[in-house]
Protein backbone atom coordinates (compact mmCIF):
# COMPACT_ATOMS: atom_id res chain seq x y z
CA UNK A 1 0.00 0.00 0.00
CA UNK A 2 1.27 3.44 -0.89
CA UNK A 3 1.68 5.87 1.99
CA UNK A 4 2.07 9.63 1.69
CA UNK A 5 5.37 9.93 3.53
CA UNK A 6 8.07 12.49 4.07
CA UNK A 7 11.28 11.46 2.28
CA UNK A 8 13.36 11.36 5.46
CA UNK A 9 10.77 9.24 7.28
CA UNK A 10 10.40 6.86 4.34
CA UNK A 11 14.18 6.42 4.17
CA UNK A 12 14.47 5.84 7.93
CA UNK A 13 11.75 3.18 7.86
CA UNK A 14 13.42 1.53 4.87
CA UNK A 15 16.75 1.48 6.67
CA UNK A 16 15.02 -0.13 9.66
CA UNK A 17 13.78 -2.90 7.34
CA UNK A 18 17.42 -3.56 6.44
CA UNK A 19 18.07 -4.47 10.11
CA UNK A 20 21.19 -2.42 10.93
CA UNK A 21 22.83 -3.32 14.25
CA UNK A 22 24.44 0.06 14.88
CA UNK A 23 23.37 3.55 13.83
CA UNK A 24 25.42 6.59 14.64
CA UNK A 25 24.88 10.11 13.41
CA UNK A 26 25.14 13.73 14.43
CA UNK A 27 22.18 15.96 13.55
CA UNK A 28 22.60 18.44 10.72
CA UNK A 29 19.95 20.14 8.58
CA UNK A 30 18.49 18.77 6.30
CA UNK A 31 19.52 15.22 7.30
CA UNK A 32 18.00 15.50 10.79
CA UNK A 33 14.62 13.90 10.14
CA UNK A 34 16.21 10.63 8.97
CA UNK A 35 18.11 9.96 12.18
CA UNK A 36 15.34 11.46 14.33
CA UNK A 37 12.94 8.87 12.95
CA UNK A 38 15.50 6.07 13.30
CA UNK A 39 16.22 6.97 16.90
CA UNK A 40 12.51 7.01 17.73
CA UNK A 41 12.03 3.64 16.00
CA UNK A 42 14.76 2.28 18.29
CA UNK A 43 13.31 4.01 21.38
CA UNK A 44 9.84 2.59 20.60
CA UNK A 45 11.28 -0.89 20.31
CA UNK A 46 10.36 -1.16 16.62
CA UNK A 47 14.00 -1.50 15.60
CA UNK A 48 16.48 -3.63 17.48
CA UNK A 49 19.66 -1.63 17.04
CA UNK A 50 22.12 0.43 19.02
CA UNK A 51 21.89 4.19 18.42
CA UNK A 52 25.21 5.71 19.42
CA UNK A 53 25.01 9.40 20.26
CA UNK A 54 28.23 11.17 19.41
CA UNK A 55 29.70 14.66 19.66
CA UNK A 56 30.50 15.17 15.97
CA UNK A 57 30.28 13.66 12.51
CA UNK A 58 33.92 12.61 12.75
CA UNK A 59 32.92 10.42 15.68
CA UNK A 60 29.74 9.20 13.98
CA UNK A 61 31.76 7.98 11.01
CA UNK A 62 34.37 6.45 13.33
CA UNK A 63 31.61 4.69 15.22
CA UNK A 64 30.10 3.04 12.15
CA UNK A 65 33.60 2.20 10.94
CA UNK A 66 34.23 0.32 14.18
CA UNK A 67 30.82 -1.33 14.12
CA UNK A 68 31.20 -2.67 10.58
CA UNK A 69 34.77 -3.75 11.36
CA UNK A 70 33.36 -6.04 14.07
CA UNK A 71 30.96 -7.61 11.58
CA UNK A 72 27.80 -5.60 12.33
CA UNK A 73 25.67 -3.85 9.70
CA UNK A 74 25.87 -0.10 10.37
CA UNK A 75 24.30 3.06 9.01
CA UNK A 76 24.84 6.79 9.22
CA UNK A 77 23.59 9.90 7.52
CA UNK A 78 24.85 13.45 7.15
CA UNK A 79 24.92 16.62 5.04
CA UNK A 80 27.27 19.35 3.91
CA UNK A 81 29.64 20.46 6.71
CA UNK A 82 28.98 17.18 8.47
CA UNK A 83 30.20 15.25 5.46
CA UNK A 84 33.28 17.45 5.31
CA UNK A 85 34.03 16.72 8.96
CA UNK A 86 33.61 13.00 8.20
CA UNK A 87 35.89 13.16 5.18
CA UNK A 88 39.00 11.82 6.89
CA UNK A 89 37.14 8.83 8.27
CA UNK A 90 35.32 8.16 4.99
CA UNK A 91 38.67 7.63 3.28
CA UNK A 92 39.55 5.20 6.10
CA UNK A 93 36.27 3.30 5.71
CA UNK A 94 36.84 2.88 1.98
CA UNK A 95 40.55 2.14 2.37
CA UNK A 96 39.82 -0.53 4.98
CA UNK A 97 37.22 -2.04 2.65
CA UNK A 98 34.33 -1.74 5.13
CA UNK A 99 30.78 -1.75 3.71
CA UNK A 100 29.24 1.16 5.62
CA UNK A 101 26.02 2.49 4.07
CA UNK A 102 25.20 6.18 4.45
CA UNK A 103 22.79 8.75 3.17
CA UNK A 104 24.10 12.17 2.21
CA UNK A 105 21.28 14.68 2.11
CA UNK A 106 22.92 17.02 -0.36
CA UNK A 107 23.29 20.61 0.78
CA UNK A 108 25.48 23.59 -0.09
CA UNK A 109 28.82 24.06 1.65
CA UNK A 110 29.77 27.15 3.70
CA UNK A 111 30.85 29.96 3.52
CA UNK A 112 28.50 31.76 3.22
CA UNK A 113 26.32 29.62 5.46
CA UNK A 114 23.56 28.03 3.41
CA UNK A 115 21.36 25.13 4.44
CA UNK A 116 19.66 24.62 1.07
CA UNK A 117 20.19 22.06 -1.63
CA UNK A 118 22.94 21.58 -4.15
CA UNK A 119 25.37 18.72 -4.76
CA UNK A 120 28.69 20.34 -3.94
CA UNK A 121 29.13 18.57 -0.60
CA UNK A 122 29.43 15.03 -1.93
CA UNK A 123 31.90 16.08 -4.63
CA UNK A 124 34.49 16.69 -1.90
CA UNK A 125 34.72 12.95 -1.22
CA UNK A 126 34.13 11.61 -4.72
CA UNK A 127 37.72 10.32 -4.91
CA UNK A 128 37.62 8.39 -1.63
CA UNK A 129 36.67 4.99 -3.00
CA UNK A 130 33.02 5.26 -1.99
CA UNK A 131 30.24 4.06 -4.26
CA UNK A 132 28.03 7.12 -4.90
CA UNK A 133 24.41 6.68 -5.97
CA UNK A 134 21.95 9.51 -6.72
CA UNK A 135 18.17 9.23 -6.36
CA UNK A 136 15.57 11.16 -8.33
CA UNK A 137 12.50 10.35 -6.26
CA UNK A 138 11.74 9.47 -2.65
CA UNK A 139 10.74 5.97 -3.71
CA UNK A 140 14.04 5.53 -5.51
CA UNK A 141 15.95 6.84 -2.48
CA UNK A 142 14.32 4.08 -0.40
CA UNK A 143 14.94 1.41 -3.02
CA UNK A 144 18.59 2.44 -3.41
CA UNK A 145 19.12 2.14 0.34
CA UNK A 146 18.08 -1.52 0.29
CA UNK A 147 20.29 -2.17 -2.72
CA UNK A 148 23.17 -0.19 -1.17
CA UNK A 149 23.59 -2.72 1.66
CA UNK A 150 23.59 -5.59 -0.80
CA UNK A 151 26.11 -3.92 -3.11
CA UNK A 152 28.40 -2.77 -0.29
CA UNK A 153 28.44 -6.13 1.50
CA UNK A 154 28.95 -8.22 -1.63
CA UNK A 155 32.03 -10.38 -0.99
CA UNK A 156 33.74 -9.07 -4.12
CA UNK A 157 32.93 -5.42 -3.35
CA UNK A 158 33.33 -4.59 0.36
CA UNK A 159 33.22 -0.83 -0.16
CA UNK A 160 31.06 1.87 1.43
CA UNK A 161 28.01 3.23 -0.40
CA UNK A 162 26.57 6.73 -0.03
CA UNK A 163 23.04 7.24 -1.32
CA UNK A 164 22.59 10.90 -2.28
CA UNK A 165 19.27 12.68 -2.04
CA UNK A 166 18.59 16.35 -2.72
CA UNK A 167 18.09 18.26 0.53
CA UNK A 168 14.53 19.48 1.20
CA UNK A 169 13.35 18.50 -2.31
CA UNK A 170 13.50 14.81 -1.37
CA UNK A 171 14.31 14.82 2.35
CA UNK A 172 11.43 17.14 3.32
CA UNK A 173 9.15 16.41 0.38
CA UNK A 174 6.10 14.16 0.71
CA UNK A 175 5.25 11.60 -1.93
CA UNK A 176 3.27 8.36 -2.18
CA UNK A 177 5.83 5.70 -1.20
CA UNK A 178 5.54 1.96 -1.21
CA UNK A 179 7.49 0.53 1.74
CA UNK A 180 8.36 -3.13 1.17
CA UNK A 181 7.43 -5.96 3.50
CA UNK A 182 10.00 -7.14 6.04
CA UNK A 183 9.91 -10.67 4.57
CA UNK A 184 10.76 -9.38 1.10
CA UNK A 185 13.66 -7.30 2.39
CA UNK A 186 14.92 -10.27 4.42
CA UNK A 187 14.78 -12.44 1.34
CA UNK A 188 16.72 -9.86 -0.67
CA UNK A 189 19.23 -8.91 1.98
CA UNK A 190 20.77 -11.76 3.99
CA UNK A 191 22.42 -10.98 7.35
CA UNK A 192 25.86 -9.38 7.08
CA UNK A 193 28.46 -12.11 7.26
CA UNK A 194 31.86 -10.75 6.26
CA UNK A 195 34.94 -12.74 5.29
CA UNK A 196 37.03 -10.61 7.67
CA UNK A 197 36.22 -8.81 10.90
CA UNK A 198 37.59 -7.91 14.31
CA UNK A 199 37.02 -10.96 16.47
CA UNK A 200 38.64 -11.74 19.83
CA UNK A 201 38.74 -15.46 19.06
CA UNK A 202 40.49 -14.92 15.77
CA UNK A 203 42.46 -11.70 16.19
CA UNK A 204 43.58 -9.61 13.22
CA UNK A 205 44.70 -6.02 12.62
CA UNK A 206 42.61 -3.96 10.18
CA UNK A 207 44.05 -0.77 8.74
CA UNK A 208 47.73 -1.19 9.66
CA UNK A 209 50.63 0.93 8.45
CA UNK A 210 51.21 0.25 4.79
CA UNK A 211 54.52 1.45 3.37
CA UNK A 212 55.49 2.28 -0.20
CA UNK A 213 55.82 -1.45 -0.86
CA UNK A 214 52.10 -2.08 -0.17
CA UNK A 215 50.02 1.13 -0.48
CA UNK A 216 49.86 1.41 -4.27
CA UNK A 217 48.20 -1.99 -4.58
CA UNK A 218 45.47 -0.98 -2.13
CA UNK A 219 44.45 1.80 -4.52
CA UNK A 220 44.84 -0.41 -7.57
CA UNK A 221 42.57 -3.00 -5.97
CA UNK A 222 39.81 -0.46 -5.24
CA UNK A 223 40.07 0.95 -8.77
CA UNK A 224 39.82 -2.53 -10.30
CA UNK A 225 36.93 -3.44 -8.01
CA UNK A 226 35.04 -0.25 -8.86
CA UNK A 227 35.44 -0.57 -12.61
CA UNK A 228 34.87 -4.32 -12.88
CA UNK A 229 32.98 -5.93 -10.00
CA UNK A 230 30.98 -2.92 -8.78
CA UNK A 231 29.80 -1.92 -12.27
CA UNK A 232 28.53 -5.47 -12.79
CA UNK A 233 27.08 -5.92 -9.32
CA UNK A 234 25.12 -2.63 -9.31
CA UNK A 235 23.30 -3.71 -12.50
CA UNK A 236 22.84 -7.24 -11.20
CA UNK A 237 21.46 -6.09 -7.83
CA UNK A 238 19.09 -3.65 -9.57
CA UNK A 239 17.77 -6.49 -11.70
CA UNK A 240 17.31 -8.74 -8.67
CA UNK A 241 15.52 -5.88 -6.93
CA UNK A 242 13.18 -5.31 -9.86
CA UNK A 243 12.37 -9.02 -10.04
CA UNK A 244 11.69 -9.43 -6.33
CA UNK A 245 10.03 -6.13 -5.44
CA UNK A 246 8.18 -5.67 -8.73
CA UNK A 247 9.37 -2.09 -9.04
CA UNK A 248 11.71 -0.88 -11.79
CA UNK A 249 15.23 -0.12 -10.62
CA UNK A 250 17.58 1.21 -13.26
CA UNK A 251 21.03 0.24 -12.03
CA UNK A 252 23.84 2.48 -13.28
CA UNK A 253 21.90 4.94 -15.44
CA UNK A 254 18.35 5.63 -16.48
CA UNK A 255 17.79 6.53 -20.11
CA UNK A 256 14.69 8.49 -21.03
CA UNK A 257 13.46 8.92 -24.62
CA UNK A 258 16.90 8.29 -26.09
CA UNK A 259 15.95 6.21 -29.13
CA UNK A 260 16.33 8.84 -31.85
CA UNK A 261 17.58 11.65 -29.62
CA UNK A 262 19.97 14.11 -31.22
CA UNK A 263 20.34 16.17 -28.06
CA UNK A 264 20.74 14.48 -24.70
CA UNK A 265 20.57 16.07 -21.28
CA UNK A 266 22.84 14.49 -18.66
CA UNK A 267 22.13 15.18 -14.99
CA UNK A 268 21.87 13.59 -11.54
CA UNK A 269 19.24 13.62 -8.80
CA UNK A 270 15.83 15.22 -8.48
CA UNK A 271 16.43 17.85 -11.16
CA UNK A 272 16.02 15.05 -13.72
CA UNK A 273 12.27 15.12 -13.03
CA UNK A 274 12.10 18.73 -14.17
CA UNK A 275 14.26 17.94 -17.21
CA UNK A 276 12.00 14.99 -18.16
CA UNK A 277 8.97 17.30 -18.07
CA UNK A 278 10.80 19.68 -20.41
CA UNK A 279 11.82 16.81 -22.68
CA UNK A 280 8.18 15.71 -22.97
CA UNK A 281 7.16 19.23 -23.95
CA UNK A 282 9.99 19.55 -26.47
CA UNK A 283 9.13 16.13 -27.93
CA UNK A 284 5.55 17.31 -28.40
CA UNK A 285 6.99 20.10 -30.54
CA UNK A 286 8.95 17.57 -32.58
CA UNK A 287 12.39 18.15 -31.03
CA UNK A 288 14.55 15.02 -30.75
CA UNK A 289 15.68 15.17 -27.12
CA UNK A 290 16.26 12.69 -24.34
CA UNK A 291 17.74 12.38 -20.86
CA UNK A 292 20.51 10.26 -19.40
CA UNK A 293 20.19 10.22 -15.63
CA UNK A 294 23.38 9.15 -13.90
CA UNK A 295 22.48 7.04 -10.87
CA UNK A 296 25.95 5.68 -10.17
CA UNK A 297 28.44 8.55 -10.20
CA UNK A 298 31.10 6.33 -8.61
CA UNK A 299 31.88 4.02 -10.25
CA UNK A 300 31.23 6.13 -13.33
CA UNK A 301 29.37 4.02 -15.91
CA UNK A 302 31.77 4.69 -18.80
CA UNK A 303 30.89 1.82 -21.12
CA UNK A 304 27.14 2.14 -20.67
CA UNK A 305 27.28 5.88 -21.32
CA UNK A 306 29.37 5.62 -24.46
CA UNK A 307 26.83 3.18 -25.89
CA UNK A 308 23.87 5.36 -24.92
CA UNK A 309 25.20 8.54 -26.50
CA UNK A 310 26.83 6.87 -29.50
CA UNK A 311 24.66 8.58 -32.10
CA UNK A 312 24.06 11.82 -30.21
CA UNK A 313 25.04 15.15 -31.75
CA UNK A 314 24.82 17.29 -28.66
CA UNK A 315 25.15 16.62 -24.93
CA UNK A 316 23.96 19.15 -22.36
CA UNK A 317 25.28 18.55 -18.85
CA UNK A 318 23.25 20.24 -16.13
CA UNK A 319 24.61 20.02 -12.63
CA UNK A 320 24.28 21.42 -9.15
CA UNK A 321 28.00 21.46 -8.39
CA UNK A 322 31.11 23.27 -9.60
CA UNK A 323 34.79 22.56 -9.20
CA UNK A 324 35.77 26.18 -8.74
CA UNK A 325 38.49 27.13 -11.20
CA UNK A 326 37.53 24.28 -13.52
CA UNK A 327 34.19 22.91 -14.71
CA UNK A 328 31.25 21.08 -13.25
CA UNK A 329 32.48 17.66 -12.06
CA UNK A 330 29.97 15.77 -14.21
CA UNK A 331 30.90 17.84 -17.28
CA UNK A 332 34.58 16.99 -16.79
CA UNK A 333 33.67 13.34 -16.44
CA UNK A 334 31.61 13.20 -19.62
CA UNK A 335 34.01 15.22 -21.73
CA UNK A 336 37.04 13.17 -20.71
CA UNK A 337 35.10 9.98 -21.34
CA UNK A 338 34.11 11.01 -24.84
CA UNK A 339 37.59 12.32 -25.66
CA UNK A 340 39.17 9.01 -24.73
CA UNK A 341 36.62 6.65 -26.22
CA UNK A 342 34.81 8.20 -29.13
CA UNK A 343 36.27 8.20 -32.61
CA UNK A 344 37.30 11.66 -33.68
CA UNK A 345 34.75 12.18 -36.43
CA UNK A 346 31.50 11.73 -34.57
CA UNK A 347 32.25 13.33 -31.25
CA UNK A 348 29.15 15.03 -29.87
CA UNK A 349 29.42 18.66 -28.81
CA UNK A 350 29.15 19.08 -25.04
CA UNK A 351 27.89 22.07 -23.13
CA UNK A 352 28.01 22.41 -19.37
CA UNK A 353 25.61 24.39 -17.20
CA UNK A 354 25.75 25.05 -13.46
CA UNK A 355 22.47 25.73 -11.72
CA UNK A 356 20.62 25.58 -8.44
CA UNK A 357 23.58 26.27 -6.16
CA UNK A 358 22.59 26.99 -2.57
CA UNK A 359 18.95 26.11 -3.24
CA UNK A 360 18.31 28.50 -6.15
CA UNK A 361 15.15 27.23 -7.80
CA UNK A 362 15.57 25.70 -11.27
CA UNK A 363 12.53 26.14 -13.47
CA UNK A 364 11.32 24.45 -16.63
CA UNK A 365 11.74 27.74 -18.51
CA UNK A 366 15.44 27.82 -17.62
CA UNK A 367 15.93 24.28 -18.94
CA UNK A 368 14.13 25.23 -22.15
CA UNK A 369 16.34 28.28 -22.62
CA UNK A 370 19.43 26.14 -22.03
CA UNK A 371 18.20 23.85 -24.79
CA UNK A 372 17.61 26.75 -27.17
CA UNK A 373 21.02 28.25 -26.44
CA UNK A 374 22.72 24.89 -26.98
CA UNK A 375 21.58 24.85 -30.59
CA UNK A 376 24.13 27.53 -31.39
CA UNK A 377 26.59 27.51 -28.50
CA UNK A 378 28.59 25.06 -26.40
CA UNK A 379 29.55 26.86 -23.21
CA UNK A 380 31.43 25.17 -20.37
CA UNK A 381 30.54 25.76 -16.74
CA UNK A 382 28.00 28.41 -17.62
CA UNK A 383 26.07 29.58 -14.56
CA UNK A 384 22.39 30.11 -15.22
CA UNK A 385 20.16 32.59 -13.43
CA UNK A 386 23.02 34.81 -12.19
CA UNK A 387 21.66 37.99 -10.61
CA UNK A 388 23.85 40.87 -11.71
CA UNK A 389 22.53 43.05 -8.88
CA UNK A 390 24.21 40.67 -6.38
CA UNK A 391 27.62 41.27 -7.95
CA UNK A 392 30.11 44.12 -7.80
CA UNK A 393 33.80 44.89 -7.89
CA UNK A 394 34.10 45.19 -4.09
CA UNK A 395 32.41 43.33 -1.21
Amino acid sequence: MKQFLEGAVAIARTVALCRPGVISAYPITPQTHIVEELSSLIANGELNAEFVNVESEHSAASCVLGAVATGVRAYSSTSSQGLLLMAEVLFNIAGMRLPVVMCCVNRAVSAPLNIWNDQQDIMTVRDAGIILLFAETIQEACDLHIQAFKIAEHKEVMLPVIVNIDGYILSHGYEPVELPLQETVDKFLPPYNPAYKLDVDNPVTLGPLSGPEYYLETRYAIQQTMNNEVIKIISQVAKEFTDLFGRESYGLVESYKLDDAETVFVAMGSICGVIKEVVDELRDKGEKVGVVRIISYRPFPNETLVKLVASTKKIIVIEKAISLGSNGPLFTEISSLLYTTHNNKNKPLISGYICGLGGRDVTKEEIVSIYEESKTQSPTAKFINVKQENLGSVI
Binding site: V204, T205, G207, T218, Q224
Partner: protein
Protein backbone atom coordinates in the same frame (compact mmCIF):
# COMPACT_ATOMS: atom_id res chain seq x y z
CA UNK B 1 40.00 -7.34 -5.97
CA UNK B 2 41.75 -6.83 -2.67
CA UNK B 3 45.25 -5.80 -1.61
CA UNK B 4 47.03 -6.97 1.54
CA UNK B 5 45.16 -5.03 4.22
CA UNK B 6 44.85 -7.43 7.12
CA UNK B 7 47.59 -8.49 9.47
CA UNK B 8 47.43 -11.57 11.67
CA UNK B 9 48.79 -11.32 15.24
CA UNK B 10 52.48 -11.86 16.05
CA UNK B 11 53.67 -11.10 12.52
CA UNK B 12 56.00 -8.44 13.91
CA UNK B 13 58.11 -11.29 15.35
CA UNK B 14 59.36 -11.75 11.79
CA UNK B 15 60.99 -8.34 11.90
CA UNK B 16 64.28 -9.11 13.67
CA UNK B 17 64.91 -5.55 14.77
CA UNK B 18 68.06 -6.61 16.59
CA UNK B 19 69.79 -6.00 13.27
CA UNK B 20 69.31 -2.26 13.86
CA UNK B 21 71.56 -2.41 16.95
CA UNK B 22 74.53 -0.10 16.76
CA UNK B 23 77.70 -1.19 18.38
CA UNK B 24 76.86 -2.24 21.92
CA UNK B 25 74.75 -5.00 23.45
CA UNK B 26 73.80 -5.69 27.09
CA UNK B 27 75.50 -8.49 28.95
CA UNK B 28 73.65 -9.96 31.96
CA UNK B 29 76.30 -10.99 34.49
CA UNK B 30 73.96 -13.07 36.68
CA UNK B 31 76.00 -12.37 39.83
CA UNK B 32 74.12 -9.90 42.02
CA UNK B 33 70.59 -9.86 40.54
CA UNK B 34 68.01 -8.97 43.23
CA UNK B 35 64.98 -9.75 41.04
CA UNK B 36 63.79 -6.13 41.11
CA UNK B 37 62.64 -6.52 37.45
CA UNK B 38 63.55 -2.92 36.54
CA UNK B 39 65.35 -4.06 33.35
CA UNK B 40 62.34 -6.13 32.33
CA UNK B 41 59.85 -3.30 33.03
CA UNK B 42 61.75 -0.46 31.37
CA UNK B 43 63.05 -2.20 28.24
CA UNK B 44 61.37 -0.22 25.39
CA UNK B 45 61.52 -3.25 23.11
CA UNK B 46 60.07 -5.73 25.60
CA UNK B 47 62.87 -8.10 24.72
CA UNK B 48 64.02 -8.88 28.28
CA UNK B 49 62.43 -11.86 29.95
CA UNK B 50 63.04 -14.16 32.90
CA UNK B 51 61.83 -14.82 36.44
CA UNK B 52 62.92 -14.70 40.09
CA UNK B 53 66.60 -13.64 40.06
CA UNK B 54 67.43 -14.59 36.50
CA UNK B 55 66.77 -12.34 33.50
CA UNK B 56 68.25 -12.19 30.03
CA UNK B 57 67.89 -10.40 26.71
CA UNK B 58 66.66 -11.63 23.32
CA UNK B 59 69.28 -10.21 20.98
CA UNK B 60 67.07 -10.84 17.95
CA UNK B 61 65.15 -7.71 18.96
CA UNK B 62 67.45 -5.72 21.29
CA UNK B 63 68.47 -2.37 19.76
CA UNK B 64 71.23 -1.75 22.27
CA UNK B 65 69.76 1.35 23.91
CA UNK B 66 71.38 0.55 27.25
CA UNK B 67 68.48 1.50 29.50
CA UNK B 68 68.65 -1.89 31.28
CA UNK B 69 72.27 -1.35 32.30
CA UNK B 70 71.51 2.18 33.57
CA UNK B 71 68.50 1.20 35.66
CA UNK B 72 70.04 -1.94 37.19
CA UNK B 73 70.56 -0.92 40.87
CA UNK B 74 73.34 -3.47 41.43
CA UNK B 75 75.22 -2.96 38.16
CA UNK B 76 74.67 -6.55 37.16
CA UNK B 77 74.10 -5.58 33.48
CA UNK B 78 76.94 -4.10 31.45
CA UNK B 79 77.06 -2.84 27.88
CA UNK B 80 79.79 -4.40 25.84
CA UNK B 81 81.00 -4.03 22.26
CA UNK B 82 79.60 -6.47 19.75
Amino acid sequence: MFAKLIIKPATSLDNKTGSWRSGKKPKFLHNKCTGCRMCYLLCPEGCISGSKKFYDVDLDYCKGCGICSVVCPVEDIVMEKE
